[in-house]
Symmetry: C2
Subunit: 428 residues, 2 copies
């Protein structure tokens, strides 16, 4: 299968490109290296010393004999070039990671909001219009986010993309209707994902494009089977207040022996997935495209576990001995939410989730320890407030971590994981 990986130099795109290449896919990589420019803007490079994309790909070829062509192309603007590329490379599928993907970054300033909307919707629009113009039947696999659901559903369970509802007729009959899950984004970044979802519905319906939208949880971990093959292939690792996702940030704090910082109550329950599973899920989605556009946009929840943020901090605290500091929340979000997500479609297709086992936490901790000289400690706290009138995060209380109890810790994790895979409703 021939696959264009758009955004293939990024945190999820790079390991996915290698995973697919190793598994025999003909991979073409497209990226405008925007994420590396943001490193410069924020003054925080990846914790891991990532090589240039050219060096990375050269190393991959040396190690595996596999050639991944690279095109430096801005998909939010370079329409004609992308149409040409599609016609030349004749992909069976395009995987779209070509987005600004940080909620705090999208909320930094008005300019960041405007730029996130411009880049994310522009690139979605260019990719879709180019598929139409190519006249080819190309399967688009897009990375959405669990954030489109807004972590709130009166029914208590978040389904995969679509919701069965009932509406009252004028004569008070209850009529069934299947709708796209009502959007409730919590940042401009999440907003663009909800807006893209509408775009996919339209292009699927009007232009008969086959599309899979993967609503992914928060990605943790750093390396995969492929990126550990050689240090030149190492994946990027973000730990700063804007791009560092919560679990990775906790692991950095633990490795540096500084407080794990929990914002607000820590009662926000979020869904997670390991970066290796991201790559695996993409392959599953590629192998099982919608058979025809009439099936509609296929939507999977790409998550494996769910934890409250405070619960996660406590787990890592117990495992590592790190302390926890509770700070006021710079985001506008619910202080507490429950989260039950269905992820049955990936499980049915054979995904064996990687969960928060110590081995992988150890792996992340060892990466952090190895490169700890590179850490810009001042970049760890959040530098973005959702509203400028919100106070700077201040310490609320302090809660000293308990002594590490690895057995208890493992039991809890296993329990959580078993609930997830044994329940048809996939409580995670």
């Amino acid at each position: 299968m021939r696959v264009i990986v758009a955004g293939g130099d990024g945190f999820c795109g790079w390991p996915t490109a290698l995973h697919l290449s190793r598994r025999g896919y003909h991979v073409v990589l497209v990226d405008n290296l925007y994420r590396r420019k943001i490193d410069q803007e924020l003054g925080v490079p990846s914790l891991t010393p990532i090589l240039s994309i050219e060096e990375r790909l050269k190393a991959w070829e040396e190690l595996t004999g596999k050639v991944i062509p690279f095109y430096n192309m801005d998909l939010s603007t370079d329409y004609d070039e992308f149409v040409e590329l599609i016609k030349r490379e004749k992909p069976d599928a395009i995987v779209d990671f070509a987005k600004i993907r940080s909620a705090p970054y999208s909320m930094k300033t008005s300019k960041h909001k405007i730029e996130t909307v411009r880049n994310n919707l522009g690139s979605a629009q260019v990719i879709l219009a180019a598929i139409v113009d190519s006249g080819m039947d190309i399967h688009l696999v897009h990375l959405g986010t669990m954030g489109v659901y807004g972590y709130a559903c009166p029914a208590g369970v978040i389904p995969e993309g679509y919701l069965d509802i009932f509406v009252k007729s004028p004569t008070d009959e209850l009529l069934p209707w299947k709708i796209l899950y009502p959007a409730s984004p919590g940042s401009v970044y999440h907003l663009t994902k909800c807006q893209e979802a509408l775009m996919f519905q339209f292009y699927n319906k009007c232009h008969k494009i086959r599309i899979t939208d993967l609503h992914q949880g928060i990605v943790w971990g750093t390396n995969t089977a492929e990126t550990t093959m050689d240090e030149r292939l190492i994946n990027r690792f973000d730990y700063d207040g804007d791009y560092g996702t919560v679990l990775n940030r906790f692991l950095v704090q633990a490795a540096l022996d500084i407080d794990l910082t929990v914002y607000g109550t820590g009662g926000q329950k979020r869904a997670f997935i390991h970066v290796q599973d991201t790559a695996r899920c993409i392959e599953i989605a590629l192998q099982d495209p919608p058979k025809s556009p009439e099936e509609g946009v296929k939507i999977f929840n790409q998550v494996t576990e769910a934890y409250e943020v405070a619960e996660l901090a406590e787990l890592i605290s117990r495992f590592t001995g790190a302390s926890i500091a509770y700070l006021s929340n710079p985001r506008v979000e619910a202080a507490q939410n429950d989260l039950v997500v269905i992820n049955q479609q990936f499980l049915d297709r054979g995904l064996k989730p990687i969960t928060l086992e110590e081995g992988l936490m150890e792996e992340v901790l060892s990466v952090v320890k190895k490169y700890k000289e590179r850490v810009v400690t001042s970049a760890i706290p959040p530098s973005t407030k959702w509203r400028k009138e919100l106070p700077e995060p201040v310490k609320l209380t302090e809660k000293k971590a308990e002594i590490v109890d690895k057995d208890l810790h493992l039991t809890e994790l296993k329990h959580n994981h078993e609930t997830l895979i044994s329940n048809k409703h996939a409580v995670c």
Copy 2:
């Protein structure tokens, strides 16, 4: 009240700006004259000879003594300038007409799709972010479209913006939920309006902006009480396949004694509003803003009547003696749909709808006859197909118009109007 009218040089923006100015509002007009550039691109100027915005505003000042400052500003890009303008002009409200507003234009080519998304979402984003940055409590009044509803609701009645639904809990209880009406756009233009609606939900919730979104029907007519005061104030009038809305196009065809062209079955039922009522509705919305952001985004359906396209052609045919030609449909849309729309909120606030009375049809016909030398006849048929593989529109059957029967015609119109205003569900 101080009001910025964004897109104030356009078909709806110009008469609204004058209406508000005459009624004592301090109006500031912002436009990048994009619509005039599209005239050049398409090679079809307004049927009416509109003057430059500077000449128009000078004439207005001469006639009324009222000064409307004008800023040539592109709201999809000129962020800093717009923030400065807001801080200087201190508006109580911004009315946002600054959009590419044609469904066929948005579907012409991939570049038109990309540009419609860029311009429409970019300008919405700039306006919202600028309101946030100004720190002022500014009411945003935005022109949405009936097209966000997709003309399909199992409940049979299209409510105003929000839908009461029921979802099943895991224990099969039916739980109520009020959601934004599920989007189902029929063109990229309509898609952008659905995407803007999500933006409004987000900015209202996160940044506490007071917003009114007006889902407008198809606008017909040309002049208003203000634009008829002097020929220098004349409103633009579009009749081409891309920008001419169906009712105005029929009136042009009738005035030129050529066939009224109905695409497909003509069974598509659409909602209409006269351009004078557009201006009146905007004033009503300005006078009755959401009292607090906690009320949520206020959504009104800005429509007064509904007709099937074929029914409309038959009415105009009876009134004018014009023939009707049925052609194959270049759009991807349902051949037939029912449409019952609630428009109670505007009626409750005192709107007395202008309906398809002969006086106003006569007025449009007389405008067309006066400027008929300016008509580019070749521009009347649709030049845009929703999918390039669709055939060029061909004549399907011919149906000669009946003799004009003005009494019958009036009776039907009155009946339609009475149903609309006497029914709480506002059948239109």
